[in-house]
């Protein structure tokens, strides 16, 4: 087994274990910290899949921005007096649904071999590296979606400010 495969399987199993911890921990702070670990593992997987720019963005946006937001809100909203326990019937139904979805898709993917394989040219791009390739694609072919994404972020920012502000 080559080195990148070992790194991938290690990171993938770490990500799955910490994701399970996110949804099972009772304390929201612990869940948030395990979520950071999951995000870092996913960023490592992006590097293994030679998407280095996206890995950097993942660490900056998720582990930097989103996590600070989560921790602020967890600190602002006090802990519940009553434990938030779901009814057993509900958990059983959810487990059944999730298991069915996972089993059906995994059994499909297990034998699936995508017909196309990596082309000789273009990926990873010859010279310049991943960031230059992403930039070229983003500012040439996807310029309009890029501008719309910035408007989306502006709308989200204004919406968050309006929703969370104290009524005067």
């Amino acid at each position: 087994m080559e080195a990148s495969a070992i790194v991938f399987y290690t990171l993938a199993s770490m990500a799955v274990v910490s994701a399970v911890m996110v949804v099972t921990r009772r304390s929201a702070v612990h869940a948030a910290l395990f979520l950071v670990l999951t995000f870092f593992c996913v960023a490592g997987i992006y590097i293994v899949l030679s998407a280095e720019f996206l890995a950097a963005v993942q660490v900056l946006v998720y582990a930097g921005g989103v996590m600070v937001l989560y921790l602020f809100v967890i600190m602002l909203v006090p802990l519940q007096a009553r434990p938030l326990k779901p009814p057993v019937r509900h958990v059983a139904g959810s487990l059944l649904l999730a298991g069915l979805l996972a089993a059906s898709l995994i059994s499909y993917f297990w034998n699936a071999t995508p017909s196309a394989t990596a082309r000789e040219m273009g990926y990873p791009p010859a010279g310049g590296g991943n960031i230059e390739a992403v930039g070229m694609e983003l500012y040439r072919r996807y310029l309009l979606p890029f501008e719309i994404a910035s408007v989306t972020l502006l709308v989200a920012m204004i919406g968050a400010v309006v929703l969370a502000r104290k009524k005067v």
């Binding site: 990148s4 495969a5 991938f8 799955v16 399970v20 996110v22 949804v23 929201a28 869940a31 996913v42 997987i45 992006y46 293994v48 899949l49 030679s50 998407a51 996206l54 963005v57 998720y62 921005g65 989103v66 937001l69 989560y70 809100v73 602002l76 519940q80 009553r82 938030l84 779901p86 509900h90 139904g93 959810s94 487990l95 649904l97 999730a98 979805l101 996972a102 898709l105 995994i106 993917f109 297990w110 699936a112 071999t113 995508p114 196309a116 990596a118 082309r119 990926y123 791009p125 390739a133 992403v134 694609e137 996807y142 994404a149 989200a156 920012m157 919406g159 968050a160 929703l163 969370a164």
Partner: protein, 100 residues
């Protein structure tokens, strides 16, 4: 080279775990975390197919997914703060005024 099907199975497992979090947890903040996990797993699929097909478009869409996820978290957490201010709870079983 790691087979694409293994990456898809990994992202599938991550998606299922996130879905379980959304379905079973009662704390609205942790429900949002489950949605983050699901978005991340979709992103892994984009990257896997980008590598498999030798096309940069998957990575560009990954960036757009991250943009939308960041906006979603900002608005979602603002909604949680507004809910807590108005109803004094973030237990999603007690927030049922829309049920009629």
């Amino acid at each position: 080279m790691i087979p694409a099907s293994h990456i898809m199975i990994f992202s599938m497992i991550l998606f299922t775990v996130g879905m379980l979090g959304v379905l079973t947890r009662r704390n609205a903040i942790i429900v949002l975390m489950g949605i983050e996990l699901m978005l991340n797993s979709a992103n892994i699929n984009f990257i896997a197919f980008s590598r498999q097909l030798g096309d940069m478009a998957g990575q560009i869409f990954g960036i757009f997914t991250i943009v939308v996820a960041a906006g979603e978290v900002a608005v979602g957490l603002a909604i949680i703060i507004a809910l807590f201010r108005n109803k004094d709870t973030i237990n999603i079983d007690e927030i049922d005024i829309m049920k009629g």
